[in-house]
């Protein structure tokens, strides 16, 4: 019987349910690195500009991050399944044009127009999902295709015209309320709610755990009797729904339905996800990390502007941070294997 008991090599002792997980330095860096980078950046900019660390400015940074932030939530879900979505920005632009045109040109009730715009996003997400699962095409190729399809439809449908004078309902999330002297945009509240909701689903529901598992080892998920196609379809559709909500935030923020919106947001959202410590190989990461990643980009954009550095340096800094984040991720992964 003695040889029958497997004694853990690193943590001998009786099995208990709630013991502490051993943590490596690399894993710690992968977990806390993004937050540390954000705080360091904020400290740096606060020391260089007395305008940076004000309620108004921080509220502004968050507001400037809300569109990419919501896109990046969907992107996180997809990357966790070891996929990638290049189409998110194009889908968002389409949703925005749909809701703005319906409301302004076709006279559809604003609430219905919003719903149809958001549903357009969800429908495109579902299309991505069907192509990835039923036809088993790689997500990169599928979303490269739907990126172009959504972009073209946006420009055909909008006739390349930016839609102005949108009804108030479409810009509601761009309005502000005051907490003390600081104006806070409703859209940022919606973004935080969506991050919180996604965090809960990923952490506390079976669906959420399956999202991680399928990015980790799809074979194990299939053998556990989980319908992977349905799971992925749900993930891509949920992501599309989030892109549709981002459409609304984009219209609210800029006050127009803009067919040229979101053209670089696919890469911006992937950047945020990576900066937040989520692995591009799937199965590892945190949606709250993505929030931190989005804010890192926002803080650098705003901070460098405030201290008078040309915006091209923001691109440089973002590039370096991405490489750093991926390096830390690789290091953490290899250590664990």
């Amino acid at each position: 019987m003695g040889d029958a008991s497997i004694v853990a090599e690193r943590s001998a002792g009786p099995a208990t349910a709630e013991g502490r997980t051993p943590v490596s330095l690399a894993a710690l860096l992968a977990n806390l690195g993004p937050l540390l980078a954000l705080l360091l950046a904020m400290a740096f900019f606060a020391s260089r500009s007395d305008r940076f660390l004000t309620g108004a400015n921080l509220s502004l940074v968050i507001q400037q991050s809300m569109v990419v932030g919501v896109l990046a939530i969907g992107q996180t879900l997809i990357i966790l399944t070891a996929g990638i979505d290049l189409s998110c920005g194009a889908i968002m632009a389409l949703g925005g044009v749909v809701m703005a045109r319906l409301a302004v040109i076709n006279g559809v009730h604003p609430i219905l127009a919003i719903a149809l715009g958001v549903l357009t996003g969800a429908a495109f997400g579902a299309l991505n999902g069907v192509l990835v699962t039923n036809i088993q095409l790689p997500p990169f190729i599928v979303t490269l295709g739907t990126l172009n399809i959504a972009f073209a439809i946006t420009h055909i449908y909008s006739q390349n015209q930016t839609i102005t004078n949108v009804p108030a309902a479409l810009t509601f999330f761009g309005n502000t309320f005051r907490v003390g002297s600081t104006a806070i945009t409703y859209g940022t509240v919606l973004m935080f709610v969506l991050f919180g909701l996604t965090w809960f689903v990923l952490r506390y529901t079976a669906f959420g755990r399956h999202v991680y598992a399928v990015g980790n080892n799809p074979e194990a998920v299939r053998l556990a009797g989980i319908n992977i196609n349905l799971l992925l379809l749900l993930v891509y559709t949920a992501a599309g729904l989030l892109y549709g909500i981002a459409s609304l935030l984009s219209v609210a923020r800029t006050g127009v339905g803009d067919p040229n919106a979101g053209q670089t947001d696919n890469l911006a959202s992937i950047t945020a996800v990576v900066l937040g410590g989520t692995s591009l190989f799937g199965g590892r990461g945190k949606v709250l990390g993505t929030l931190v990643g989005v804010l890192i980009v926002g803080v650098f954009r705003n901070g460098l502007q405030l201290i008078g550095v040309e915006s091209v340096y923001q691109v440089l800094v973002t590039g370096i941070l991405v490489i750093l984040a991926v390096t830390v991720d690789q290091f953490a992964r290899r250590r664990q294997q």
């Binding site: 330095l25 690399a26 260089r48 500009s49 305008r51 108004a56 400015n57 502004l60 507001q63 400037q64 569109v67 006739q159 390349n160 015209q161 930016t162 102005t164 984009s250 923020r253 800029t254 006050g255 127009v256 803009d258 040229n260 919106a261 979101g262 053209q263 670089t264 954009r301 705003n302 502007q305 405030l306 201290i307 008078g308 550095v309 040309e310 915006s311 091209v312 340096y313 440089l316 800094v317 370096i320 490489i323 750093l324 390096t327 830390v328 690789q330 290091f331 290899r334 250590r335 294997q337």
Partner: protein, 358 residues
């Protein structure tokens, strides 16, 4: 087991030392770059800040504009803050830049709007916060969304090359291709219609195009109109496609000189470069060189440096006296060609190269 998993994926564990070295290198690079970029940092409270937002960082036109703004800012002893979109119609980045500049305490913002309509709500917010906003080069829609506009008269720029082309073609029956910019952007429409107005209406035309037209005016002589975003490679493709459509094209209008060079490359490949007249707009240095080399017959030169200088001076004046500029100020346009036509005012490429940008 752990080893077999790692080798099966072709991975080898990196050592922490190498990772830390890479980290240190990156921090080192940053430490070198940032201070260099921050020479004029840290605004004092009484310092006047002028913001300049261009469509992109890379277009030589905007590089020259920035240069002019910097010169004027240095001369006036004020601080210039710049930002740009990532592509021509990148509205979101411009909105963000306006917000950041307002927060940074800019007294005035000079902007070449990437999307002339979409930018308006953000400009209105900035003006409501007491910031002077002047459009450079490109008017917003509506134009009075900004306090003032300092720009080339784009309709006139088109008109000049249209008149030149008419004089040059004489009685030859024109078969025209136009290589345009983003449709829906007013500059593109004004230049295109100005060109047609200068060339003179077709026999079957209802009316001569005017600066009030908001879309491309239909013209039976234009056999091919392509939107190539003012990009050289896209314009080459567009011209190739136009030649497929009609081999008889003998006059090409392009929205700018990169587009003209793209069109020329396509025409040369088809062996038609000597049979086709290319006219363009901009007056960039490489564009004027192309006029000198005979690739482009004539171009309308505009003056971004002057626009920016006037813009900065206006903001400084506003900051000091509270006086705002208003309406439209023409920053001038000159026809540049080495083959002048009788009755058409023009300057040669020597003048063009002295005054070019880029």
């Amino acid at each position: 087991m752990r080893r077999s998993l790692a080798t099966s994926q072709g991975l080898r564990g990196p050592n922490l030392g190498r990772v830390l070295l890479a980290l240190a290198l990156m921090v080192g690079v940053l430490a070198q770059l940032l201070p260099a970029a921050m020479q004029s940092v840290a605004a004092q409270d009484d310092e006047i800040i002028v913001g300049l937002i261009t469509k992109t960082e890379t277009n030589p036109f905007f590089v020259k504009m920035k240069e002019g703004a910097q010169q004027a800012a240095d001369a006036a002893g004020v601080k210039l803050m710049t930002a740009a979109g990532q592509f021509d119609a990148d509205n979101a980045s411009q909105v963000t830049a306006i917000e950041n500049m307002v927060t940074a305490g800019a007294k005035g913002i000079l902007i070449t709007p990437g999307d002339t309509k979409a930018i308006v709500p953000a400009i209105e917010k900035a003006r409501a916060a007491g910031v002077l906003v002047i459009a450079l080069d490109t008017p917003t829609e509506p134009m009075d969304a900004t306090d003032a506009l300092f720009a080339t008269d784009n309709f006139k720029a088109g008109l000049l090359i249209g008149e030149y082309a008419k004089a040059s073609m004489g009685d030859t029956v024109p078969v025209i291709a136009t290589i345009d910019g983003s449709t829906g952007v007013s500059v593109s429409v004004l230049r295109h219609n100005g060109f047609l107005a200068g060339f003179g209406p077709a026999a079957d035309a209802a009316a001569t195009p005017s600066a009030a037209d908001s879309v491309f005016v239909a013209d039976s002589r234009v056999v091919c109109s392509q939107d190539a975003d003012g990009d050289q490679a896209l314009s080459q493709t567009a011209m190739e496609n136009c030649l497929q459509k009609s081999g008889d094209i003998n006059l090409v209008y392009t929205i700018n000189e990169p587009a003209a060079r793209g069109a020329y490359t396509a025409l040369k490949a088809a062996g038609k470069e000597n049979d086709v007249l290319i006219v363009s707009i901009d007056g960039g240095c490489t564009g004027v060189e192309a006029v000198k080399d005979g690739q482009i017959a004539a171009t309308s030169q505009q003056y971004p440096l002057k626009m920016a200088q006037m813009g900065v001076d206006a903001v400084v004046k506003f900051a000091k006296t509270g006086e705002k500029p208003s309406g439209y100020t023409d920053t001038g346009v000159t026809l540049i060609t080495d083959k002048p036509m009788p009755g058409i005012d023009s300057k040669d490429t020597t003048f063009g190269l002295e005054n070019c940008w880029g």
